[in-house]
């Protein structure tokens, strides 16, 4: 049996000391071990950014491609050889700024790749400009007085694009991250996994309330399919959905079974969860849907081909002797 370490390449890891990317790399390689991935069948594709350095560190095939284009590269690989295990690594700038279009098309086509979106709400590699996920008012190198843009919500965007699997996890909760990554790989089709990742150099503490052990239980809701949505250090609070309003209720007053029961298969509920961008946010699998996988569909539709000789013979031909 391989362990996580067996999936590390011989290359020196070069993220900043303390960067959240280290943990994601670790959980990723452990998941590879867990699912018994064959390194020679595994391909890790990334765009450009700090996160996108990850393929270099993984003992597998990999490509550090172009900024924003990894979904298209991965689509090409899957069309070339559907049986490869392709993973996609991207950042919030890579996936949602320059790469937004390829991302939404990969999602709606349901190309069979888990997409690990390292969201640190900043451009790390280019040294700290605000990103499409940066909250309004973000002070960054390019917005010293605070940004004015309304941020992209990766979850509603992906849902609106027709994604078949949506999840969220974080660098600082290894067990949860591993679980979500394994689930994303098990899903047939595109799986968007947003990972809250701390950039301790340019945007330290962006997700502290969700990741810090002290505050986590008050802000992070861990979803479980078929179970009531509850949170709190003592699991003493729950959510209910009233029309379009998400409300917090005390479980001292109501029983858990009266709460909103998480149903991964319910798109409306998924949308309600995806819209939670304030101090209370869901983690885990927000949504899941079964839909044929693109590359399989394409190959199926192209089964009925003609040999070169037959193609030559098509149409009106004549012979001179």
């Amino acid at each position: 049996m391989r362990t996580g370490k067996d999936y590390l390449s011989d290359q020196e890891v070069r993220w900043c000391p303390g960067c959240g990317d280290y943990s994601v790399l670790k959980q990723f390689t452990e998941v590879l071990a867990l699912i018994g991935a064959d390194p020679s069948q595994t391909v890790v594709i990334s765009g450009i950014g700090c996160a996108s350095r990850l393929p270099y560190y993984v003992h597998a095939y990999g490509m550090h491609s172009l900024h924003g284009r990894a979904p298209a590269v991965a689509t090409g690989i899957k069309l070339a050889n559907p049986s490869l295990d392709v993973w996609l690594i991207t950042g919030d700038g890579d996936a949602l700024s320059i790469g937004g279009n390829h991302l939404i098309h990969a999602l709606r086509r349901n190309v069979g790749v888990p997409i690990l979106l390292f969201n640190n709400e900043i451009y790390g590699l280019t040294k700290g400009q605000y990103s499409p996920t940066s909250r309004s008012g973000s002070v960054s190198k390019s917005t010293p007085l605070g940004s004015v843009d309304h941020p992209v919500n990766p979850q509603t965007l992906a849902l609106g694009a027709g994604a078949t699997f949506l999840a969220r996890s974080m660098d600082r909760h290894p067990a949860h991250l591993r679980e979500v990554l394994a689930a994303s790989k098990a899903h047939e089709g595109s799986a968007l996994v947003e990972i809250y990742q701390n950039c301790n150099v340019f945007h330290d503490g962006a997700f502290e309330q969700f990741t810090d052990k002290k505050s986590q239980s008050d802000h992070a809701i861990f979803l479980h399919h078929g179970e009531p949505i509850t949170f709190g250090a003592e699991l003493d609070r729950g959510l209910i959905l009233e029309g379009s309003q998400v409300k917090v209720v005390s479980l001292a007053e109501r029983s858990a079974s009266e709460c909103w029961i998480h149903d991964e298969r319910d798109p409306m509920k998924a949308y309600a969860l995806a819209r939670m961008t304030e101090d209370l946010r869901p983690f885990g699998i927000l949504y899941r849907e079964d839909r044929p996988v693109f590359e399989q569909q394409v190959h199926l539709a192209h089964k009925d081909t003609r040999s070169f000789e037959d193609v030559l013979a098509m149409g009106r031909t004549w012979t001179v002797s």
């Binding site: 990999g62 590269v73 689509t75 070339a80």
Partner: protein, 605 residues
Amino acid sequence: MTKVLSHLVVLMAGDSGDGIQLLGSQLIRAAAQSGQDVRTLSDFPAEIRAPQGTISGVSGFQFQMASEAIFDPGDAADVFVAFNVAGWIKHQHKLKSGGLLLASIDGFDARSKAIAGVDANEDPLEQAKSNFQVLEVDFKKITSEALKDQSLSGKEKSRAKNMTILGLLTWLYGQSAPAMEADLQRQFQGDLGAANVLAFRAGYHLGETAEWTAYKREVPQRKALPGTYKTLSGSQAMALGLAAVARQLGRQVLYAGYPITPASDILHELARIRPAGVLPFQAEDEIASITAAIGASYAGNLGATASSGPGISLKGEGLGLAVMMELPLLVINVQRGGPSTGLPTKMEQSDLLQALYGRHGEAPMPVMAIKRTGEALDDVLLAAKMAVESMTPVMLLSDAYIANSAEPFRLPDPEQMRRIEAPKSDIHRAPYARDAHGVRPWIIPGTPEGMHRVGGLETEDQTGHVSYDPKNHQSMIQQRAAKVQAVTRFYGPLCVEVGESKGEVLLIGWGSTYGAIRTAVENLRDQGHSITHLHLKHLFPLHPEVISFMTGFSQVVVAEMNEGQLVQVLRSQTQQDLHFLGKTSGQPFTASELQARIVPYISAS
């Protein structure tokens, strides 16, 4: 007695709804099949359905048929078939003085004149009579009479006018009526097929009835090379080429395209013929198509893509990545009029310098050009061979003219086609270790123990790891360049098209101007001039002998459909004085135009 001609040029023009392209392709297939050589030139309106009857809505189709090998659709027309007044007005200057104008007078009525913007008092047909022989025929009426018992709508009946004209032309130019009828029946089923045949017959008999034997012309058969033929456009031939690549490489070709005129026809043709081993994929844009193709090549397919104009400009970043990673990739540029959206349906050769230099950094890659439909299949094979066997992206230039122009195409014997041998997925060599030709192995995901990473950052020699080392960078730039230079091993000897290897004038061209240049040079040689035609297939790296070959001539003229691109490249490599002969009007060179423009250089030498 029917007059016998070695060459006949027919131009048909009318509304884009008149079915002229169909008529034309029907006729030339028959001609080709009966042994004449043919070349065509289509001219479409830019609009999908341009306003009926207007000048901008004119669709044109010209062909030349000949009893010997020809290379272009001819210059001035012997015969002009005018479906309407707009078509005549737009192209009348192309009819030879004394030539035959066959006018469908239903398209010359008051309403047609008004729409075409012709003054009501003018009578273009009357005017034409002073210069041309004019036959006025009411094809609409003839057609509707022929079809009066058919259960078709009025619109469908009037659409069959092209079949009536086809019938007349078939009779005039000695093609076989039964063969044509059979062909029509194969294509159009049911009522429509029957109606088309009726209309065709009406036209065929018209000549006889009207006693137009004086207008009949016969173009004798030539001795074509033995083989099986079909008529193909350049786009179709390129699609066949991709099919051939899949066969010869023994691996899937992922063809990732995004619709754009005139490149889209390759995608359509692939989707239509469905050749084994070629997977067509319509991506969300041109960047996605080239990067998906790159992904496919990494995974062991040959990634291919094609585009035109703006779409090619979007592929520069992807090309650079393929250069850096050293992956095979085939990019076809079906050039059109630029800059920007430009003239999407017109031909031009103005993307050469972009093909050579349109990437940041030192990013050389081989660039080839197709000179005619008949070679398109083999050129695609050669480009793919260079890409795969040298692990490099290759740019293959075509253009709107080749894409659309049809000619009799001799089908290759699959067993005789070029072979392509992919570099082995050899895990015992480092991913960027080079062989004698500077080529790295193509280690494909899925290969046990071959795991390695590739990317756009500078690559360490041998290992392919990221390297910021200055010496490595300089060395890798040079290694990549040397590898690309080494593709000249795939070139054959430098061959002239016609002429001697020393002499007075050397006329150099590339790409689709081949037919016009070759015809012009042959004509000039017939007139006794010392002139040679050299046509470059390889634009980068140049054939190693080109520069020294030029020194054998006192005048070297470079003719191209741009403002001087190849000539600039050649000038940078020689101290010889080179002349330039260009055109950027979206219309191809004609042989006579070239002849006239070359004359000054002939007298100068």
